[in-house]
């Protein structure tokens, strides 16, 4: 009985949060046109969010690519299917791994930074201070950060994918002795620009919006105490990760 009750309460809470997030998104979109008049703020956030995650994404991309190269080469050489290695690696990365892994890493690194920053500003009354100085904190603080994440995510994903492919190449060709031409040549015939690459880009755009939105949302409504901020930070990672995975399924179903 209590399990059912808990589920019902949990679902009600989920709906309420979903509603709150949607309303917040509408507020952000409403303030976006005027926030675009201050590109300096937005670029600053692209830097904070993107450039600071760059090293992490590049390292992750390199190792994911190397592992893919290793695993697939190992398996495929048993079936004499090495010529499929290049296309398989590219397709796996560009369609799924790139957007999803980048989004998850982003949630952990940049998402938490955004949430805790905004939460801290709330706790130290900086947001209220701005309100009192007749500066809209949505326009000055929230929207630029959202747009920063939105812009940075596809770029980070592209960098992740590119480095991962090079990592796979390094392992397969340089280490395992596969022929370089065999790696690159079959790709164009099997990878479609619109279906595969741009589909992946579209995913990363959606993920960027989701990750950015959830991070600024959690920060903005955090309880203005130290505990509240830390809880908001943790929730950001969890909620973003789950949303990314659910969105991934939905987008994959639509794109396929």
């Amino acid at each position: 009985m209590t399990l059912l009750n808990d589920l019902r309460k949990g679902f009600a809470e989920f709906l309420a949060t979903f509603g709150a997030v949607s309303i917040f998104l509408l507020r952000i979109l409403a303030d976006t046109p005027r926030a675009l008049l201050r590109p300096g703020l937005i670029f600053r956030q692209v830097h904070v969010v993107g450039a600071n995650s760059l090293v992490l994404i590049m390292m992750a991309g390199l190792f994911v690519g190397m592992v893919l190269g290793l695993q697939f080469y190992n398996t495929m050489s048993k079936f004499g299917a090495e010529q499929s290695l290049g296309p398989v690696v590219v397709l796996a990365l560009v369609r799924e791994l790139g957007p999803v892994v980048t989004a998850l890493l982003f949630a952990g690194r940049a998402g938490t930074a955004l949430a805790s920053e905004i939460g801290l500003m709330k706790a130290t009354e900086q947001l209220a201070g701005m309100e009192m100085m007749a500066v809209d904190p949505m326009r000055y603080v929230v929207v630029p950060r959202f747009l920063g994440a939105f812009i940075a995510m596809p770029l980070l994903t592209a960098i992740f994918n590119a480095i991962a492919i090079l990592g796979a190449w390094a392992v397969a060709v340089q280490m395992m002795g596969m022929d370089g031409g065999q790696f690159w040549a079959p790709m164009p015939d099997n990878v479609d620009v619109y279906d595969d690459v741009l589909g992946g880009v579209m995913k990363s755009v959606f993920f960027g919006a989701a990750a950015g939105l959830l991070a600024v949302f959690e920060g903005y409504r955090a309880y203005p105490t130290a505990e509240g901020v830390s809880r908001a930070t943790t929730r950001t990672v969890v909620v973003t990760a789950m949303s990314v995975l659910v969105l991934d399924y939905m987008l994959t179903a639509i794109l396929i």
Partner: protein, 271 residues
């Protein structure tokens, strides 16, 4: 004193948070050019009053008029216009942590005006000079002490030359020297600029030094009102307890609880 026009007029203000009634119908007149103080025991909602006057909160009933305009009826743009004429000093300063001291004070100018950089620089430096902290211009808020941060926040609050300024617990947590500095600044700004000031505090000595008119709030109502001299001579129990810091009186020492005998013996019965 210049003309004693009422700048901020509050009538029948009621406000509750959840089931707690914070204000149960209060009337207040804040006169132009004067320093008006609100005192009372902790939790009487003094800060809430400031937030109601500045439009951060909406009253449940009653009116708040600033220069004749009803605050609660203003839309966002009109409210922002009103706030540009107000200065607000938060309890912890609320400086923006990612900007330098100079940029913090310059913030309202940069956001609301298109003044050229040299002019902004002069104005910022003048305000910093007024609070005695011109030398800290390139420091960051993290490097400032509490008292200094509060004075910088004060410089920021007056950088747009507002008509009125609100001080939210300006003396809390300061050493005596810093407290004296803030008191002096509040007095000087009021006298030199005719700046209508509203101070919320519970530091009786400092308030008495600085204010023209004191409102004593307790239990959601105004229990006393007058000049510091009048309150000192008052024979109301509330005023006596507050001004002299008595432990017990109209504000009880004991938080409501069952009779102590029942509490102790009841435990024994259960065991």
């Amino acid at each position: 004193m210049a003309d004693n026009d009422v700048l901020i007029e509050i009538r029948g203000l009621k406000y509750s948070r959840g089931s707690t009634v914070i204000f149960d119908g209060i009337d207040v007149d804040i006169r132009k050019g004067e320093v008006t103080a609100f005192m009372g025991p902790s939790g009487t909602g003094k800060t809430t009053l400031l937030r109601l006057i500045t439009g951060q909160l909406r009253p449940d009933a009653g009116t708040i008029r600033v220069s004749g305009e009803e605050v609660a009826g203003l839309d966002r743009n009109a409210l922002y216009d009103l706030r540009k004429r107000m200065g607000f000093l938060f309890q912890n300063g609320a400086l923006l942590t990612d900007l330098s001291v100079f940029e913090n004070v310059a913030f309202p100018l940069r956001e609301h005006t298109r003044l050229p950089d040299p002019l902004i620089r002069d104005m910022v430096m003048m305000k910093l000079q007024a609070v005695g902290l011109r030398g800290t211009a390139s420091m960051t808020p993290a490097e400032l002490s509490g008292g200094m941060a509060r004075r910088i926040a004060l410089a920021r609050a007056i950088v747009m030359d507002p008509e009125m300024i609100f001080y939210d617990e300006p003396f809390v947590g300061l050493d005596p020297i810093s407290m004296g500095q803030i008191v002096r600044l509040i007095k000087r700004l009021n006298e030199a600029l005719g700046l209508t000031s509203v101070v919320v505090s519970h530091d009786v000595a400092e308030i008495s030094e600085v204010s023209d008119c004191i409102y004593l709030l307790a239990g959601g109502r105004v229990v006393a009102r007058g000049s510091p001299q009048q309150l000192r001579e008052s024979d109301s129990e509330w005023v006596r307890q507050f001004m002299e810091g008595l432990a017990d009186g109209p504000v009880p020492f004991h938080y409501p609880a069952p009779e102590i005998r029942d509490d102790l013996l009841g435990e024994g019965k259960r065991a």
